[in-house]
Subunit: 297 residues, 2 copies
């Protein structure tokens, strides 16, 4: 039953995000068309949409209007997609495939990829500052603050920098954990937090959700390392085992596959424990937590 | 006298921006230090600070608190600096020098340059959403909306895309004007607009300021084309005459140097005309307009 709940939720959010991004990215009638085409190529029709799902599931649990939650979810997804575009560049991870199709700089060119990433970055904040869609200015400002912090040097971008340094230096488990909390965890946590912001949830109520998000963020990354170690490239739609080849410290290299798997499962149980105060309205967030470690791609 | 007024204003804003950015970018004690060092290298101690100057001069004319105006000016400068970093990348303009020193990717590496640009981009919105500095949520949300629109695909990034296409296609004067309005004009106009937002200036009063900003934005770019055509590389601190070599349409290639110069001067007169309703409190904005075409770098 919970698998069905999750499957439907994943399908639903994927469609909603595509519809919303399609409306947000109309093709201009001038030379900027190439830029918007590239943004659409990268942003529409691919990815698990984990971040919008987390935002929408939290919002739904807290009785927030669905359309609003999806729009806010799209702002987070815009940040996620821009980070993937820049991450895939030759000077970064130099990846050729993403979501089973050529990466943006392979399909277009590097300059277009840099600009499309930058434009999706700006789009995220355009979405969050649209007064016609999010009427309350305090909510808009709080959403922007949350997303900017989670994506900048104190969050995702900071984690990516540590990840680059990780190729030169050997990191211990503590540092790898910190790296992953920033690189992946910060934006996943923001997804939950932004759902709570939309619901005007008081600080007290946000704490347990933050713990939930923290735990699934870490579990998500351990699962990613395991998939990178054991997964199928075709199913993943991207190159695997690059970290191993580069000699980078990961949860799997530091703990071994078995202990890493145990750790991820323990984190998921812990995450679900943080939802104890909620009833069946939190079932989707519980299912998401389990999905994080059980997914095959 | 007006030259003195401007000289002092330029010196003052340069110091204020450096002090503010220095405080905004403390070095972290972990592997992210490299990222923040790179952000500091690019953002502190260089550039004319035209955008913070425009923001602060507008704000001062409208009696806004100086410290607040400088902070908001720093958010615009963060966007400007990130765009220069990405613009200088090998896949874009491939420039080696900026502000008289090696470009960021030459001093560090390309991956660090991409990430430092992205992090400065996020920093801009972190600055604008800091409730402890800009207490009014409506003002925060309005500032974010203005800056996100000016910097994204509908503004600066869109103009950069047109600029790339300009290398392959021949543009007429109308299209070059549109390109420059987006690439440079949008952010310069946002600088004035954000000063007006801080002052809660009603829409009616913003119109003339928008016309002023539009005119100096265009004059600024024509002057840039003239400097690129006639200027001194050492004084400019960057490579010149690259557009000419690439056969790109510019105001100078389309109008000739003499007509371009006349056009820039006419725009400056027109810009100053839009300030007629103001008294001596607009003298600095008038001086900025003249500086835009008379500067030597």
């Amino acid at each position: 039953m919970s698998e069905n709940l999750l499957g439907q939720a994943l399908e639903r959010i994927a469609t909603e995000v595509d519809v919303c991004l399609d409306a947000l990215l109309p093709l201009p009638g001038d030379a900027r068309a190439r830029l918007v085409e590239a943004m659409r190529y990268a942003a529409i029709g691919g990815g698990k949409r984990m971040r919008p799902l987390l935002c929408a599931a939290t919002a739904e649990m807290l009785a927030v209007d669905r359309e609003l939650a999806v729009r806010v979810g799209c702002s987070i997804e815009a940040i996620h997609v821009y980070s993937l575009i820049h991450d895939d560049l030759p000077c970064m991870d130099d990846d050729d495939m993403r979501h089973g199709k050529p990466t943006l700089h392979r399909e277009y060119d590097e300059a277009t990829a840099v600009l499309a990433g930058d434009s999706l970055h700006a789009l995220a904040f355009e979405i969050l500052s649209d007064a016609s869609r999010i009427p309350d200015p305090f909510t808009r400002a709080e959403l922007v603050a949350c997303l900017a912090k989670a994506s900048g040097a104190q969050g995702m971008a900071g984690g990516q920098m540590m990840d680059i340094v990780a190729e030169e230096r050997e990191f211990d488990l503590h540092t790898v954990t910190r790296l992953q909390q920033l690189k992946t965890g910060a934006l996943l946590a923001a997804s939950v937090e932004m759902g709570a912001i939309l619901a005007h949830l008081p600080e007290e109520g946000r704490k347990s959700l933050r713990h939930y998000a923290h735990d699934i963020g870490l579990a998500f990354q351990i699962a990613d390392d395991l998939l990178d170690h054991e997964g199928d490239e075709e199913l993943a739609g991207k190159a695997l085992r690059k970290d191993e080849a580069a000699g980078k410290s990961t949860f799997v290299s530091l703990l071994g596959a078995e202990r890493a798997r145990e750790q991820a499962r323990a984190l998921v149980d812990q995450a679900i424990g943080h939802l104890d105060q909620y009833g069946s309205e939190a079932d989707l967030l519980r299912a998401v937590a389990r999905f994080v470690v059980e997914r095959k791609k």
